[in-house]
């Protein structure tokens, strides 16, 4: 059993680490200031410049296959990269990727949707959640009715990440009510200029999702993604594409936060001694470090299973659940160690506190992950002995 990185993995990881330090972290104070004023953290110009620098070096499309101009890296490498990026709260990711389900598009759709999305010329969003259907995604009501050569979509989607900026949406709608999720849901590629509207939703985080309104939006038949009636499978595939990446990012954030807490505890003196000398503080640091270590290996193990072509769903759910729960406990302790300063908007701790909270909700809540994990065990699809048997 070898837990070390290969030379190549370390070099790519270190490249990202250097990039984050030299290009991203210096922007942090300004990002905080802008966000305090209610402005976007990064300007378009800064975003473009960062992406340009990364692209020039070929750090583009981490998971995108090489035949589409990406790096085509394995999941383990993608997780390591995501963790490095997670060390900064600056909202940046390398560009050059597209939603996995767009790779199922036909040739003509690939030209119109997949390639421009990879190139960053078009922005996609994934729309399944509705006001009446979140965890219970099978319960969606948005409908698509055939009318001549077109489909007519009616309904409302909510909490759609990127929905304010997107110029097309992958929309999941009921095409056969009787069949429901089992053959009655279809995925459509719907351009904004076909008539849907978006409405921003204010959240406790720094980036807001949108609700999307479909009022008799006409979509031509050629915009069906995959097959009519096979939409729900695509949705599940989309959600499964990189569940390990969410806790990977949180892992990086936790590392940085605990480093900040250690630094703070060494310099903050109360009753004549640094608080680092107090057992109460030490235990918080120790527990956090153990949990970070556990999270690291849950994430990398889930990614490794993806690379091995194994059924990684159990491992991914575990990593996502543990990441969500522990990242929130850790950021809370780090805030506590910082005392009043931790509660202010001078430091990024409270920002992470708000941002990490989302991890317990989207792409399957904690409760839904637990439900999946338990069901897999009860039905015998997975064992508490893990992959070693």
């Amino acid at each position: 059993m070898d837990f070390s990185l290969s030379d190549e993995q370390r070099e790519i990881r270190d490249w990202v680490r250097t990039f984050v330090r030299r290009e991203i972290m210096p922007l942090e104070p300004e990002v905080l200031r802008r966000e305090r004023r209610g402005e976007p953290g990064l300007t378009h110009e800064e975003h473009r410049e960062l992406r340009q620098k990364a692209k020039q070096a070929g750090f583009w499309g981490v998971l995108t296959p090489q035949e589409y101009g990406g790096m085509g890296l394995p999941a383990v490498m993608a997780a390591l990269i995501e963790a490095e990026l997670g060390r900064s709260f600056v909202p940046f990711r390398f560009g050059g990727y597209a939603d996995n389900i767009l790779f199922h598009a036909n040739e003509e759709q690939k030209q119109r949707y997949l390639l421009p999305t990879i190139a960053g010329e078009r922005i996609s969003c994934f729309a399944i959640t509705e006001p009446g259907a979140g965890s219970d995604a099978k319960n969606i009501r948005t409908s698509a009715r055939k009318d001549g050569a077109d489909w007519v979509i009616n309904g409302e989607k909510t909490f759609i990440t990127g929905g304010n900026e997107a110029d097309f949406a992958m929309v999941f709608a009921v095409t056969d009510k009787d069949k429901g999720a089992a053959g009655g849901v279809t995925c459509f590629l719907v351009d904004r200029d076909m008539g849907w509207k978006s409405e921003p939703i204010d959240t406790m985080g720094e980036w807001g999702p949108a609700s999307l309104i479909f009022d008799n939006v006409r979509v031509p038949e050629e915009n069906v993604l995959g097959e009519v009636g096979r939409g729900f499978q695509l949705a599940m595939q989309w959600i499964g594409q990189g569940r390990y990446l969410l806790p990977a990012r949180a892992l990086g954030a936790c590392e940085r936060l605990v480093e900040m807490a250690i630094e703070q505890s060494k310099t903050r003196v109360t009753f004549g001694e640094p608080i680092a000398n107090r057992q109460a503080i030490q235990w918080m640091i120790a527990d956090s470090a153990v949990e970070i270590e556990a999270l690291r290996w849950l994430v990398l193990h889930a990614a490794w299973q993806v690379d091995q072509g194994m059924d990684s769903r159990q491992a991914q759910s575990m990593a996502k659940l543990y990441g969500g729960v522990k990242a929130n406990e850790i950021v809370d302790r780090v805030l506590q160690i910082h005392g009043g300063m931790g509660y202010t908007r001078e430091l990024p701790v409270e920002r992470w506190y708000r941002e990490l909270r989302l991890l317990r909700i989207y792409e399957g809540t904690d409760e839904i992950q637990r439900r999946t994990i338990a069901r897999n065990l009860i039905k015998g699809h997975a064992s508490v002995r893990g992959v070693l048997g």
Partner: protein, 260 residues
């Protein structure tokens, strides 16, 4: 133009740097090791010269096994090949011994026109090795370069020191050491990282270079560190009350520190 670039792996300036208690040498376990930033600039300069004039870039490094990371970084940036002097006997070598070993290692590179180095490493900060190498090889030395240009077999350097700016010239081959101002180093490209694996690295011992192991290392060093103490914690600093003369006082202070 064929260029040799001297590179060194140093403890990351971002991590805590320490000396070992036993022999006051660098505690290499205590900090992450990286290619010295000043060397990244030297490699960058070599690559720019190569891109303009053609030729080959060879990196030469002396350091323990794990210095291969720094060498690979230079190769990922675009250098063509490397010579790595790695030998237990080198532990604790001082600047003079290092210069001797590097001069021999440079000798294994055929037909070089230029030797580039950083003006001083961020760890030892002796800033003497490039000049010593020039002396040992009988070559002209142009140190503290913030700009380098060529005209036939003449190299011209803008040399910047605390005393000011001087323009110096020499005929090639020559040793040039560069300062922070020379350029902004590129990031290695993803392709470069993948290609670096296939580039030749010639690993040699001191015996391979015809040096007796007794001449190098802590025991044979000409200089000895008798004592080492950590930097004292930052003090509160000097407080200037602004009674209208604040600006002048700050300016006087900066002049006193030779900062302006």
């Amino acid at each position: 133009m064929n260029i040799v670039v001297l590179v060194k792996q140093v403890p990351d300036t971002w991590s805590e740097r320490k000396l070992t208690d036993a022999d006051h040498t660098l505690d290499r376990e205590a900090a992450d090791a990286v290619l010295d930033e000043i060397n990244e600039r030297a490699v960058e300069e070599a690559l720019r010269i190569k891109e303009a004039q053609g030729g080959e870039v060879t990196v030469v490094s002396m350091g323990p096994d794990r210095a291969t990371d720094a060498i690979r970084k230079a190769l990922s940036m675009g250098a063509d090949k490397a010579v790595h002097v790695s030998d237990e006997a080198l532990h604790g070598s001082d600047a003079v011994q290092t210069a001797r070993v590097l001069a021999k290692a440079i000798g294994t590179v055929e037909g070089y026109d230029l030797i580039l180095a950083g003006n001083e490493a961020t760890d030892g900060r002796a800033g003497a090795v490039p000049a010593m190498i020039a002396e040992l090889l009988g070559l002209p030395q142009l140190t503290q370069a913030r700009k380098v240009s060529f005209d036939g077999s003449t190299v011209t350097v803008e040399r910047e020191t605390e005393e000011g700016l001087t323009t110096v010239q020499a005929s090639l081959p020559a040793v040039v050491s560069v300062t922070e101002k020379i350029n902004e180093p590129r990031y290695p490209s993803f392709k470069g990282i993948m290609a670096a694996k296939k580039k030749p690295v010639n690993t040699v011992t001191v015996a391979d270079l015809g040096i007796d192991a007794g001449e190098v290392g802590l025991a044979g060093a000409l200089t000895t560190v008798l004592e080492a103490a950590p930097k004292p914690p930052r003090t509160a600093g000097e407080r200037v009350e602004d009674d209208g003369t604040g600006g002048t006082k700050i300016a006087e202070y900066l002049v006193g520190q030779k900062l302006i």
